[in-house]
C-alpha cells in the first residue's frame, strides 16, 4: 500500500461510489479501482466496507444492480445509478461542498 494513501473518510464512501457510477455501470472491484484511479492513488477504499455500502445504496434505491457477463467472461454484479441516485448525488455533492467550504473557512483562520 502506498504510504501516501489514506482511508476514505467515513460517510463519504457513498458519495464517491455514486460519483463513480455516473460514468457507467460497474461491478464492485471496478468501483474500488476507479476510486483509486480518480484520486490518483491517494484514496484506498476499504473493500470490507464497499459491499455493505453498495447494499445500503441499493436499499435506498439510489443504485440498481443486475448480473451481467463481465469483460473476461465472468458473471458479475453490475451496479448502476438510478434517477433518484443521480438527484441524491447532486444534493449530497452540494452539501458536501458547503461542508468543505465551512471547514475551510474555519481552518483558514488558523
Amino acid at each position: 500500500m502506498a504510504a501516501s494513501s489514506s482511508d476514505v473518510v467515513r460517510g463519504t464512501l457513498d458519495l464517491l461510489v455514486l460519483r463513480t457510477l455516473t460514468f457507467e455501470p460497474m461491478h464492485g472491484w471496478g468501483i474500488s479501482q476507479r476510486i483509486q484511479q480518480l484520486s490518483h492513488g491517494v484514496l484506498d477504499v476499504n473493500q470490507g466496507s464497499l459491499y455493505p455500502a453498495l447494499q445500503r445504496l441499493e436499499q435506498k434505491g439510489w443504485i440498481d444492480s443486475d448480473w451481467r457477463v463481465s469483460d473476461n467472461n465472468r458473471r458479475a454484479r453490475y451496479y448502476r445509478l438510478t434517477a433518484t441516485g443521480r438527484r441524491a448525488l447532486h444534493q449530497e455533492t452540494v452539501s458536501w461542498r458547503r461542508y468543505v467550504a465551512t471547514i475551510d473557512l474555519i481552518l483558514g483562520e488558523v
Binding site: G28, W29, Q33, Q47, Q55
Partner: protein, 886 residues
C-alpha cells in the same frame, strides 16, 4: 417511500438468506480474482498475489456479517435467535423453567383476579353523568354515635333549598323492602325504592323508554306511577314498548308504568326492579316527625366549578342555622358530604386494598423465585458466558439474550397467569358473598390486561437482569480460571442468593401473619354466641300488601291465622313472627326514650325497636331473665307493655328493677306520649351481625304494634327446610297473593353474617399458603444450589476428617441464619403493616401474640425443612469424587 423499500428489501433478506449469501460469495470471489490478477500482472507470484489481495480486502467474514445485518431486520433476527436460544435453554432445564412458569402464573393470576375486582370497584367511574360532581349527604351526630347516617327529610329539603353550591339534591329511601307484583303468572316479589322526583335527573341518567319522574312527583297529588328496571321489563313484560302507560298491580294496588331504565342503571342496588316517587304529603313538611325520623339518603350534584370544600362550608352554615332553629330535633345534628363514589365503595376499599397488597407480596415472592432460578441458570452457564465473551460476543448481546430468556418465562408465565386470573375472577365472582362488592360486572378488561402485561414485564426484568449483568460483566479470564469442575458461584451471586432467601422468608411471613390474624379473628367471630339457638329454625320473610291489609286488625288476623296453622303442622315445635331478622344486617328503627320519673336529662338515645309475637322467645330460645314474655292477652285493648333486652336493663336501669317501670319513646315526654310498662327482661341477641355488640332494644308485642313486613320464624324438630313446602301451602290457603321474599334457615343467616369475613380470610389464607409454598421452594432452590456449589469443599472437609453431621450443620447454619434474619424482618414489617388491618379484625389486635409466635414458627419449620434436604445431600458428599476433581 425509501423507508418502505428498505424494509421490503430487508424482509426479503430475512427469509432469502442463503440465496443472498451465495450471491455475495460470488461477488467477493470475483473481486478477489480480479485483485489477484492485477497483482500478478504487477509481477507478484500467484500465491503472493492472492495473499495480498486477501489482505487488501480485509476481514471477509466480518464484512459478510455486516452485509447480512444490513440485509435482515437486525433486531427481529436477533430476537428470533434469542427466543430460539431461550426455548432451547428452557427445554434443557424443564423442571427449573416449569417451576418458574408455574410460580409466575400463580403470582400473576392472583394479581389479575384481585386487580379485576379493584378495577371494577375502585377505578371504574360511576355510570352517571359527570359523576365527580355527585356527593352523598349524611347526618352526623356524636350524641347518638351516628356517622354517615341516613337523614331526616325536612333537613334534606332545607339543605336542598339553602345551599347555593348544590345544583340540585335528590334523595332515595334505602331498605324499603319488597312489594308483590301480581298479574299474569305467579306473584313476583319485587325490590322497590322510593325516590324524589329529581332522582334520575340529578344522577343524569335518562329513561330507556318512556319518562322518569318530575319534581312535582316528590309530593303527592299525581297518579301512582313507577319506573321499572330493564330486567323486570324483559322478564315480566316481554320487553314490549307498550309497557309505558300500562297499569300493573303492585301489592294489590294499581300503578302506572312511566318508563323503563336502561340495563346499566342499578342504583342504589343491583336488586332494585322498581322506582316509585316518594309522593310525600305536602302537609307532612311542617310535622315534627319529618325532621325527627331519619330514613333518607340525599345525593347532591355540585354546581360546575364548585369545590367540595366550598360546598361543605356552605352546608355547615346551613346545618348550624338548623341546629338553632330546631333545637328539639337538631341539637348536635351535623352533616357531612362524601363523594358518591367513595360512599359506594365504602367498606369494600380496605379489604380490596389488603388483598391487592397480599397479591403484590405473592408476586414479589414469585419474582424472587424466578430471579433465583435465573441466578442458578446464570451460574451454571458462567463458563459458557465467559467463553462467549472471550470469543468476542458483545456484552449487550449477552444481556439481551438473558433478557429474552427472562421475558420468555415472563410471557409464558404471564399468559398462564392471565388465564388463571380470568378463571380466578370468575371464581371470585361466584364465591363472593352477596353484597360484598358493590358491583356485579367484574371482568378482565383491557385495563386489567394492561396492568398484567406491565407487572409481567416488570417481574421479568427486575429479578432477571441482576444475575445477567453480573455474569456478563465479569472478566472472562476470571470465570474461565474459576472454571473446572463445579465452578463456584461468584461472591456477588452468593450474596444475591442470600438476599433472596431473606426476602422470601420475610415476605412469606408478612403474608402469613396477615392471614393468621384474619384466621384468629374469624375463629373468635365464629365462637360468638348470637344470643339465640339457630339450630332447627327456618326464617321466612314475607311482605303483605298494605293497601289490602289496611287495618291493624286485618294484619294481626293474617298472622294469627298463619301462626295458628303453621304451629299445628307436624314437626313444628313453635312459630312466631318478628320485625327484625337477627344477624341479617339491620335493627329496624331506633328512637330516643325516657322512663317515667327521670329528670330532663334522664333520657336515652338510639334504642332499637322490634315487634314480636308471643312465641318468639320460645322459638328462638332467647332466655327470659326477669318478669315475663308476651302472651295472647297483650292485645291492643290491654295495657301497653314492652320487654327490654339485658343490655338496656343494665345500661339504663343500672341497679334498679326495670320490671314495672314505664317508658315512652320521646326524649321529652309530653301529654301525647304513650307510656308502656316493662314486663320482662330477655337475653341479648346480636341483632345486626355477629361482630356487632348487642344494641339496647325495646320489644313490643305484635298485637299492639302490627307490621306488614314480618319474618316468620319456625322451630322444627328435624330438618327446618323440610317444612317449608307445608308452610307455603298454609300461607297460600290463607292468602294466595302473598309471595315469600326469602327462605333461609337461621344457620344460613348466621353463615351469611360470617360470609364476608370468611371470604376475606380464605382468600388471604390461600395467598399466604401459596406464598409459603413458593417461599419454601425458593429457599430450597437457593440452599440446594449453594450446597451443590460447595460439594467439593464438603468432600475435602470430610476427607480431612470432618464428621458428616458437622458438615450438615455447616449448610443448615447458613440456612437458619438467613431464615432468622428473614423472620425478624418479617415480624418487624408485620408489626407496622398489619396495623392497617385493625378495622377488619374482630377482637384481635394487629399484634396478636399467638399469631406472632405460631406463624413464624410454622415458617421457620418450613424453611428448616427446605434447608435440611440440601444440607443432608451436602453431608453425603463423596470425598473421593471431590478430590479426584482437584
Amino acid at each position: 417511500m425509501t423507508g418502505i423499500r428498505i424494509l421490503l428489501a430487508r424482509l426479503r433478506g430475512l427469509f432469502g438468506k442463503t440465496d443472498s449469501d451465495a450471491r455475495l460469495d460470488d461477488e467477493i470471489a470475483l473481486h478477489l480474482e480480479l485483485e489477484t490478477q492485477q497483482r500478478i500482472a504487477a509481477g507478484l507470484s500467484p500465491a503472493e498475489a492472492r495473499r495480498q489481495a486477501r489482505i487488501a480486502f480485509g476481514a471477509i467474514e466480518a464484512m459478510k456479517e455486516e452485509h447480512r445485518d444490513g440485509r435482515g431486520i437486525l433486531w427481529i433476527e436477533d430476537l428470533i435467535a434469542d427466543i430460539r436460544h431461550a426455548l432451547r435453554a428452557l427445554r434443557g432445564a424443564p423442571v427449573l423453567g416449569g417451576a418458574a412458569i408455574i410460580t409466575l402464573a400463580v403470582g400473576i393470576g392472583a394479581n389479575t383476579a384481585i386487580y379485576s375486582a379493584v378495577s371494577a370497584v375502585i377505578l371504574r367511574p360511576l355510570p352517571f353523568a359527570d359523576p365527580g360532581r355527585l356527593v352523598m349527604l349524611t347526618e352526623e351526630n356524636p350524641d347518638r354515635g351516628w356517622h354517615l347516617n341516613v337523614a331526616a327529610p325536612a333537613n334534606y329539603l332545607d339543605w336542598k333549598e339553602q345551599v347555593a353550591a348544590f345544583q340540585d339534591v335528590a334523595a332515595f329511601i334505602p331498605n324499603e323492602g319488597t312489594a308483590t307484583l301480581t298479574g299474569p303468572g305467579n306473584p313476583r316479589s319485587v325490590d322497590g325504592i322510593s325516590v324524589t322526583g329529581n332522582f334520575f335527573r340529578v344522577l343524569g341518567v335518562p329513561a330507556e323508554l318512556g319518562r322518569t319522574f318530575s319534581d312535582q312527583e316528590t309530593w303527592d297529588g299525581g297518579p301512582t306511577v313507577a319506573v321499572i328496571s330493564d330486567r323486570l321489563w324483559r322478564a315480566q313484560f316481554g320487553a314490549t314498548p307498550a309497557i309505558v302507560g300500562r297499569t300493573i298491580h303492585l301489592d294489590g294496588g294499581d300503578i302506572q308504568v312511566a318508563g323503563v331504565m336502561p340495563a346499566t342503571f342499578a342504583y342504589p342496588s343491583s336488586s332494585v326492579d322498581m322506582w316509585t316517587p316518594t309522593a310525600w304529603k305536602t302537609s307532612d313538611r311542617s310535622q315534627v316527625f319529618f325532621r325527627r325520623a331519619h330514613f333518607i339518603r340525599p345525593i347532591a350534584r355540585l354546581k360546575p366549578g364548585v369545590t367540595l370544600q366550598q360546598a361543605n362550608a356552605q352546608l355547615q352554615v346551613v346545618v348550624d342555622r338548623l341546629q338553632h332553629q330546631y333545637p328539639l330535633t337538631n341539637t348536635h345534628m351535623g352533616a357531612e358530604m362524601v363523594p358518591l363514589h367513595d360512599f359506594i365503595i365504602g367498606n369494600t376499599r380496605q379489604p380490596l386494598e389488603i388483598l391487592l397488597a397480599a397479591a403484590g407480596l405473592l408476586l414479589l415472592i414469585a419474582c424472587a423465585n424466578v430471579g433465583n432460578l435465573m441466578l442458578i441458570q446464570a451460574a451454571g452457564r458462567g463458563r459458557e458466558t465467559a467463553l462467549r465473551l472471550a470469543l468476542g460476543a458483545g456484552r449487550g448481546r449477552l444481556v439481551r439474550q438473558g433478557l429474552a430468556e427472562n421475558l420468555l418465562l415472563s410471557v409464558i408465565g404471564g399468559s398462564a397467569g392471565l388465564a388463571l386470573g380470568w378463571w380466578g375472577t370468575h371464581t371470585l365472582m361466584a364465591l363472593e358473598p352477596a353484597g360484598m362488592l358493590p358491583v356485579d360486572n367484574i371482568g378482565v378488561n383491557w385495563h386489567v390486561v394492561t396492568y398484567v402485561i406491565a407487572i409481567t414485564l416488570a417481574s421479568g426484568l427486575v429479578f432477571g437482569i441482576v444475575p445477567i449483568l453480573w455474569t456478563s460483566r465479569r472478566a472472562p479470564g476470571d470465570a474461565l480460571k474459576e472454571g473446572g469442575r463445579g465452578a463456584g458461584v461468584g461472591h456477588r451471586m452468593r450474596r444475591w442468593g442470600r438476599f433472596i432467601v431473606v426476602a422470601e422468608v420475610a415476605l412469606a411471613l408478612l403474608l402469613s401473619i396477615g392471614a393468621g390474624l384474619l384466621v384468629r379473628s374469624f375463629e373468635r367471630l365464629e365462637r360468638v354466641d348470637p344470643g339465640f339457638d339457630p339450630d332447627g329454625v327456618v326464617a321466612i320473610t314475607m311482605n303483605i300488601p298494605g293497601n289490602r291489609y289496611d287495618t291493624t286488625t286485618k294484619v294481626s288476623g293474617f298472622y294469627h291465622d298463619v301462626l295458628g296453622q303453621v304451629g299445628a303442622l307436624p314437626d313444628v315445635r313453635s312459630a312466631a313472627v318478628t320485625t327484625t331478622l337477627p344477624l341479617a344486617g339491620g335493627v329496624g328503627w331506633t328512637s330516643d326514650f325516657t322512663a317515667a320519673g327521670r329528670g330532663a336529662d334522664g333520657y336515652g338515645t338510639e334504642v332499637a325497636h322490634r315487634t314480636v309475637s308471643p312465641e318468639y322467645f320460645r322459638t328462638m330460645r332467647v332466655p327470659i331473665l326477669r318478669g315475663r314474655g308476651f302472651t295472647a292477652a297483650d292485645t291492643p285493648d290491654g295495657a301497653q307493655v314492652v320487654v327490654i333486652n339485658d343490655a338496656l336493663a343494665r345500661s339504663y336501669f343500672r341497679g334498679e328493677n326495670p320490671i314495672g317501670q314505664r317508658i315512652a319513646f320521646d326524649r321529652v315526654p309530653d301529654s301525647a306520649s304513650v307510656w308502656r310498662t316493662v314486663v320482662g327482661v330477655v337475653g341479648d341477641e346480636r341483632q345486626s351481625a355477629l361482630a356487632t355488640v348487642p344494641q339496647i332494644e325495646v320489644i313490643t308485642p305484635e298485637l299492639q304494634a302490627p307490621s306488614t313486613y314480618m319474618n316468620l320464624m319456625v322451630r322444627t324438630g328435624h330438618d327446618p327446610k323440610a317444612v317449608v313446602g307445608a308452610i307455603r301451602r298454609v300461607v297460600a290457603r290463607i292468602d294466595p297473593s302473598i309471595a315469600f321474599t326469602s327462605v333461609q334457615t337461621m344457620n344460613e343467616v348466621r353463615d351469611q353474617s360470617l360470609a364476608h369475613a370468611r371470604f376475606l380470610m380464605l382468600l388471604l389464607f390461600s395467598f399466604a399458603g401459596a406464598g409459603l409454598l413458593l417461599g419454601a421452594v425458593g429457599v430450597y432452590g437457593v440452599m440446594a444450589h449453594a450446597a451443590r456449589a460447595r460439594t467439593r469443599e464438603m468432600g475435602i472437609r470430610i476427607a480431612l476428617g470432618a464428621q458428616r453431621p458437622a458438615v450438615r450443620w455447616l449448610v443448615l447454619r447458613e440456612g437458619l441464619a438467613l431464615t432468622a434474619i428473614g423472620v425478624a424482618l418479617g415480624i418487624g414489617a408485620a408489626l407496622v403493616v398489619c396495623r392497617a388491618m385493625t378495622a377488619l379484625l374482630y377482637q384481635t389486635g394487629s399484634t396478636d401474640p399467638v399469631t406472632l409466635v405460631v406463624v413464624p414458627m410454622v415458617l421457620a419449620i418450613t424453611a428448616l425443612l427446605a434447608t435440611w434436604l440440601p444440607a443432608t445431600r451436602a453431608a453425603r458428599a463423596d470425598p473421593v469424587v471431590s478430590l479426584r476433581g482437584e
